[in-house]
């Protein structure tokens, strides 16, 4: 949980954009683009835990896939350990990518039901090659103990395990090659609430022991609050707010962040915030709004939010917000007309 600014960046995204083409229903119809991620820049320092928060469909997983090189970005760069992933030759790319691994959301589809535990965990080692079966077996047993399973489980199949145990197997597979960079794509959301804490504690212990950098993708705000040093809040493929987790939780500036945070029930009754309820669903990422992506659901939306893009602006040290209400309109579009509220100002639509 250290927040050491001097640490070097391990992963940098520079203006990353990912679009997916959608075929039109009719021939010769213009191809539409799903803008899954638009112009996202972020820096992840080595050894920290970085949270990505947002509703489903906001591009969290696309960012993760772009970071590990599974999705080719349409714009921008993914720089891992100082090297641009997508300009590397194929062999070097594969070599570099071994330092990144991923933990998947669904522990039921992430383990091949035909393999036994030994085969599952040792697969990355097997693929890399150069290890004898004895070495692999010793390493797998070591890892099994590390993640809280026993040597007896070596030749059992995934169907013999519970969701939590399967996730442990998935974690063991992810760390067998000693990666420095681990992406956890909602690692606990498919598990029973009672095992959440166990798996999260395991991840934290492993981070301490193996000095890994985590990217934590989640829509569980409590998890992010407790684990992450830095975080970004995403909406419809764009970053709404970013900065130190503590600062964002203490002072959520963006209306969307505020809505997300107040939606979480707090056990402390005196500490309840006034809930901000958002109307409607996240709009389609095909043809997103030109201006602020959030204006359709924002309780404070102004006429100008519709067509004036909102840049990320640093409002306090290491705390960025993309909102016209906080930052004001840029000078060239700052007019009374743009500043007229779209909705009644009690926050209700």
């Amino acid at each position: 949980m250290a927040n050491d600014k001097t640490r070097e960046p391990i992963m940098v995204l520079e203006n990353l954009s990912v679009d997916f083409p959608v075929k039109g229903a009719l021939p010769f119809q213009k191809r539409k683009l799903i803008q899954a991620v638009t112009d996202v820049s972020l820096t992840i320092a080595s050894g920290e835990t970085f949270g990505i928060v947002g509703e489903s469909g906001c591009g969290k997983s696309t960012i993760a896939n772009a970071m590990v090189g599974m999705v080719k970005p349409t714009g921008g760069k993914v720089i891992f350990k100082g090297k641009d992933l997508f300009s590397l030759p194929r062999e070097e790319f594969k070599e570099l990518r071994r330092d990144m691994q991923m933990i998947f959301q669904d522990p039921f589809s992430s383990l091949n039901p035909r393999f036994n535990v030994y085969q599952i965990i040792s697969e990355p080692m097997f693929i890399r090659g150069g290890s004898t079966p004895d070495e692999m077996k010793a390493r797998v047993i070591e890892l099994l103990k590390l993640v809280g399973l026993s040597e007896k489980d070596l030749y059992r199949h995934p169907s013999d395990f519970s969701g939590g145990q399967r996730q442990r197997i998935g974690i063991a597979r992810a760390i067998i090659l000693n990666p420095d960079f681990l992406i956890c794509d909602e690692p606990v959301s498919a598990l029973d609430v009672s095992v959440h804490a166990q798996i999260l504690n395991l991840l934290m212990e492993l981070q301490e022991q193996l000095k890994m950098t985590y990217v934590f993708i989640s829509h569980n705000l409590a998890v992010v609050k407790n684990l992450c040093d830095q975080m970004i809040v995403m909406y419809l493929g764009k970053v709404m707010e970013s900065g130190a987790t503590k600062a964002i939780y203490a002072n959520p500036l963006h209306p969307y962040t505020n809505a997300l945070l107040t939606a979480v029930l707090d056990i402390d009754i005196d500490n309840q915030r006034e809930r901000v309820l958002l109307e409607g669903d996240i709009p389609s990422p095909i043809d997103p709004p030109k201006g602020c992506r959030f204006y359709q659901r924002c309780p404070f939306a102004m006429a100008g939010c519709k067509h004036v893009a909102a840049p990320l602006v640093e409002v306090e040290p290491n705390h960025f917000v993309s909102c016209h209400k906080i930052n004001g309109f840029p000078a060239d579009s700052d007019s009374a007309e743009n500043r007229t509220p779209l909705r009644a100002d009690d926050g209700q639509v």
Binding site: S110, E123, P124
Partner: protein, 341 residues
């Protein structure tokens, strides 16, 4: 260099052992299933007949010189009699006919499994232009009428079972390729495949370690069902005279029986014998295929209609038994009550 070769041999051995173990596992599963056991026993019998035909058959079925023994009725010396036209022993012909059916069925079934698997996996996993090319070919193949084409090709290139197998395989892989492709499309997006890709797995690794094992059950099942279908088709083609004219097959026996006047003389055994042969072969392979489907897809498991009727019969019977037992019990109770009072 030597160590590398040894390692490769060891790997190959392990792979072969794995395949053998998988097949043994399948056979054990079939054996445990009552319906599958029937199929397994019949197939084993047929295979034994085919391999040891010269030992089992009492006469030479190709011997057409027995003028004196023409058109004999079944007896202990000729179990199924002899043919009216040439005096061949029908039982011996029946045993030898197993060979053609089994060879055509198995060779075609296995070849179709190979070709269908390769095409389906390439179309599904590689995708893109390969996918389009293969699937359009499949579409075209599916609408070509096979029977006229078979007649033309056999007349052009000579009547042989090789030709028949070739045609069956040429047109048989298409359906399988479609099914395999759709399953591969599901498998290749599984998270364990993505995990392997992240670890730097090659396409070959993913195909052979994850995707092919994932579709293997479909292949085995399909092979058994294709065998059954091909056996019927082969009998039909032989009956039409499109098979090898020098070989003895069940279809050709039927054609000879019809041409030789079996119906005219009332020699029904001459017609029934090859019919039973075809039935047994198709039935057993079909059975095995269907049981495999049931084992591999437990949701399909349901009792057959005949079994249900028996079960219902049993239930009504048992209800009667229970009812009479109740009555006895009541009688007993009343008696006891009477005694007491």
């Amino acid at each position: 260099m030597k160590a590398k070769a040894m390692r490769f041999l060891k790997l190959l051995g392990n792979r072969l052992l794995g395949i053998l173990r998988a097949i043994a596992g399948f056979i054990m599963k079939l054996w445990r299933h009552p319906k599958g056991r029937v199929g397994l026993i019949v197939v084993t019998l047929l295979v034994v007949c085919a391999i040891f035909a010269p030992l089992i058959a009492p006469y030479d079925p190709y011997d057409v010189t027995q003028r004196a023994a023409k058109g004999l009725s079944p007896s202990w010396s000729h179990l199924l009699g002899t043919t009216i036209t040439t005096g061949q022993d029908i039982f011996s012909m029946l045993i030898y006919g197993t060979r053609v059916s089994l060879i055509v069925g198995l060779v075609t079934g296995i070849s179709i499994a190979f070709l269908g698997a390769i095409m389906g996996v390439i179309a599904g996993y590689v995708g893109g232009a390969a996918d389009t090319a293969i699937m359009r070919t499949v579409d075209v193949m599916l609408v070509i009428p096979t029977l006229p084409l078979t007649i033309v090709l056999t007349n052009l290139f000579g009547k042989s079972y090789l030709m028949i197998i070739f045609i069956f395989v040429l047109f048989g892989w298409t359906g399988l390729a479609r099914v395999i492709r759709s399953l591969v499309l599901v498998l290749k997006n599984a998270n364990y495949v993505r995990a392997a890709e992240l670890a730097g797995a090659s396409r070959g690794h993913i195909m052979f370690r994850h995707i092919l094992p994932g579709v293997s059950h479909l292949l085995i099942m399909n092979t058994a069902l294709t065998c059954a279908g091909v056996m019927i088709a082969e009998a039909g083609l032989s009956f039409l005279g499109l098979g090898d004219p020098t070989a003895i097959s069940w279809g050709k026996m039927l054609a000879e029986a019809q041409g030789g006047g079996a119906l005219l003389f009332g020699h029904w055994w001459w017609i029934i014998a090859p019919g039973i042969g075809i039935f047994l072969a198709v039935f057993s392979f079909m059975r095995i295929g269907l049981v495999m489907e049931e084992i591999l897809n437990p949701r399909m498991k349901q009792s057959s209609s005949i079994y249900k009727i028996f079960k219902n019969l049993n239930n009504t019977y048992m209800e009667e038994v229970f009812a009479s037992m109740d009555e006895n019990a009541k009688l007993g109770l009343t008696l006891k009550a009477g005694e007491e009072s």
